[in-house]
Amino acid sequence: MRHGLTLRIGPATFRIGSAWRTPIEALARLYAAYPDGGGTVADFTVRLQPTSTLRRWVRPSIFITGDHGLADAAPMSLAHGLLAAEMGMNLQMALGWRRHLLLHASSVEKDGRALVMTGESGSGKSTLAALLGERGWRLMGDEFALLDLDSGAILPFPRLVSLKNQAIGVVADAVAPDRLGPLLRATAKGDIRHMVPRADAVARMSEGAMPALLLFPRFGHEAALRPVGQGEAFMRLTQASTNYVALGEPGFAALTRFVTGVPACAIDFPTGDAAFEMVGRLWEGGA
């Protein structure tokens, strides 16, 4: 491929190749503080390639693929090249990662213990993690939490935080401009802007923490709090995991250990401030 870059995020190394220069340049700028993956053997290859030869130049259209790909993935415009690269890396993790149980969840750490939040997109789990990451917690990841199969610890996967729609304004106000990527308008998921995690989140990206609390947040509802039983937590986490089935017995052992050891709660919240207050109360209350 014409343009390429190797990135290390948490335990995974990605080689990203692109038919165009701009997506690679955007990645290089935003991932500048991450460890250099050059000279190492990549776990995954991501390819951003034209949907057809013509589409390299005329209304350029990106087909996202790599070691793992979806045949029916919708092509993206070159203006959204950074998002395409991020989606390409996510796709590899979701379909190919086997060294940890992969949970579609955000996670933050304080005092050596991890708070894990999972829910549908739009639940506010990413925004909440991003904001907590600016308020004294260490951001471990906004999209994937990695559950270690042997130790039961949560390991970070601190890729760029992907801010969507209203979250862009809320979070962007709180951070320096050099930590923000370009505003990508009208993507399939609405407006998107990427944010570089704080320096400590990147520097400590190999450092895990034992999970202490599992939350199922839901944004946009009256404040409410409900303990979640182990069976429900187990079921919802299997649905939130892309590799639970693939891991087989070790995945079963890790996930049962998680749900029997970590208290779980569903929280509904109308505003960020309400969420901070509820999380603080649960955390202090012996989570």
């Binding site: 039983g229 182990q230 069976g231 429900e232 187990f234 079921m235 299997t238 089935v245 087989g248 017995e249 079963f252 052992a253 049962t256 749900v259 029997t260």
Partner: protein, 102 residues
């Protein structure tokens, strides 16, 4: 479990093949079974875990035999209804491949 059709064969013999043994993890509200051979996870409630435990020696059993074994340790209520329920569960377990017709 859905209501089973009335035609339930109470004399059908089942057994638990040792190759079909599950990893069992009780949670606060239900029991998880991990069936190693298929890689499938099943969520079950009583009396399924108790039935599988009573069949663990691999002996061929009918629903009535299994009722007799379970009645030792549990209060199962009226025998007729209990045997019918056990028979229905055995059928469902056979469909999942957790027990086999002997």
């Amino acid at each position: 479990m859905p209501q089973e059709e009335p035609a339930l064969d109470r004399t059908r013999i089942y057994r638990l093949d040792p190759r079909d043994h599950c990893r069992i993890c009780p949670l606060d509200d239900l029991v998880l079974l991990y069936h190693v051979r298929s890689g499938q996870t099943h969520m079950v409630i009583s009396p399924v875990p108790e039935m599988l435990e009573a069949m663990a020696d691999g002996a061929p059993l009918s629903a009535s035999d299994l009722y007799a074994r379970l009645a030792h340790d549990y209060d199962l209520g009226p025998p007729d209804a209990a045997v019918a329920q056990i028979g229905a569960q055995l059928q469902a377990l056979e469909a999942l491949g957790l027990v086999r017709a002997a």
